[in-house]
Amino acid sequence: MSRVIALVDINNAFVSMARLFDPTLRGVPVVIAGNNDSIIVARSYEAKDLNIKMAQPYFQVKHLEQQGLVRRSANFALFTNISQRVRATMEDFSLSVIPYSIDENFCILNDKEKGSLEAYGQLMRKEILKRTGQPCGIGISSTRTLSKACNYCAKTYPATGGVVNIYRNDSKRRRMLNVVPVGEVWGCGKATTKKLNELGITTALQLADLKPEEAKSKFGINLSKTILELNGTEATEWDPDYSISQQIIASRSLGEKTDCKKSLLASIAAHVSRGSKKLRNQKAVAKSITVSIQTSPFIKNEPGYTKSETAKLDFATADNRELLRIATRIFESIYRPGFRYSKTGIQLSNIVPVSEQQIDLFFNTETENKKTSLMSTLDELNSRYGNGTVKMATETTTNDWKGKSESQPPNYTGSWEELAIVKA
């Protein structure tokens, strides 16, 4: 018996999230910019109507401010909080929720709702909007790939009311797939889409009707799995197993030899970011971190200095900030002025899977969960919009560190000092 799988996708997520506490952003073109306010990472419908593109540099559209365009920066603490509220609301409507990204979550619905699944989806959609202010599209089917396609239709065709359900309705499945371009199918990248188009396959339905064996020989195993899913059979992994490495090393020669503490620390911060991301990719945590700094061994007429030191953490973690905090402390203790350093590095060791993370008396699961979700938001954005879109403050070497961007929405849900103001 197949499961009922729903995909809930927040429309224009970052914009919708910024709008919750700021009514002045409603009904006007809004974009959210990342990477020092320079790259557009989310657009309101009004902004899409102005032909503003995803990932477009902001300076190219700045002139549209005359037409009312408003820019806001990202506030990931706020966005993550609202995303968690959406998930929590979904929990109340489903057997389980499987987070996929900050704006997309799958959930398993009880098939006793069958017959009224669409109405049930509408109910969930309404409640998410009510509790969190987030407008969503919902796709319901028996596989994740189909639910994604349903969701595409829910978003593209307003007549659907934001919910498309094709669970156990084969003729509806075929009609739906017929209007979905093959490039919109989950798992069809640009290259695959191009190849499929050359074979005359332009709709998801045409892809679904390909023989899996044929697709496997021409395109590989993944596309044959996609085809199975488009035909209603679950074929993709929910929890792929990651192999875990024993240690992670991140080091690099500096572009220019320097004794500047700030530049050295910035390079270490970048190493920590890369290293901790590798940890998180493996769903692992580290219990030790080593920081090393050295001068060039090839320069004979200068005094040399090489030093590394290891610290054990109280709790194993993959949290960038925690690791950076410890790395900074080690650096401060091993740094000696008066040397021109040529290389810095970090090493993460004592690595264990998150599932084996030791939990003791002082371990605050709630805080850890929050950290994990903030970190996964960070990784997700960097993988979506390019590395470095979101960084730790220490990673920026520029001296004109401006502090918080003026256009950043306040941390309405996470700081008593930044609450929304309501006029009595």
Binding site: P23, T89, R131, T132, V422, A424
Partner: protein, 127 residues
């Protein structure tokens, strides 16, 4: 609330003493009935009749439907405002209690953002 079970072990105070551990009142639990829908806002200005003062923290539950008589956060002219919501003779009134009903509106002219369930007043200067 944790269940209070008295043990009958003959160990002096030990048994019964331990079984009460963990019963600490939680303000969070008192005011946050639906965590996914509960938000806080800072009140600016006062609404004396509703006994709400400048600087108070309002607790808002968006999962509730506003009933006539509730204090609500509404959006009027793209601004968040705190008002009493009254439904009377098929008309909706939003009002500040120290004045005569100030805003009588059609439903299309405003939106209820959420229902205020509690407010927190600071009674000491240096808190």
């Amino acid at each position: 609330m944790a269940e209070q079970k008295k043990t009958t072990l003959p160990t002096g105070f030990g048994g019964s003493y331990e079984s009460y551990a963990g019963d600490t009142l939680s303000l969070d639990k008192l005011v946050t009935k639906t965590p996914s829908a509960t938000y806080f806002m800072r009140v600016s200005g006062d609404n004396a009749g509703a006994r709400i003062e400048n600087g108070d923290i309002a607790v808002i539950d968006r999962s509730l439907d506003a009933q006539s008589g509730d204090i609500v956060i509404a959006i009027v002219d793209s601004e968040l405002v705190l008002r009493r919501f009254v439904y009377k003779d098929n008309k909706v009134l939003l009002y500040r209690e120290d004045e005569t009903p100030s805003e009588i509106m059609n439903k299309e002219e405003f939106e209820i953002w959420g229902v205020v369930t509690f407010t927190l007043t600071n009674h000491r200067e240096n808190n």
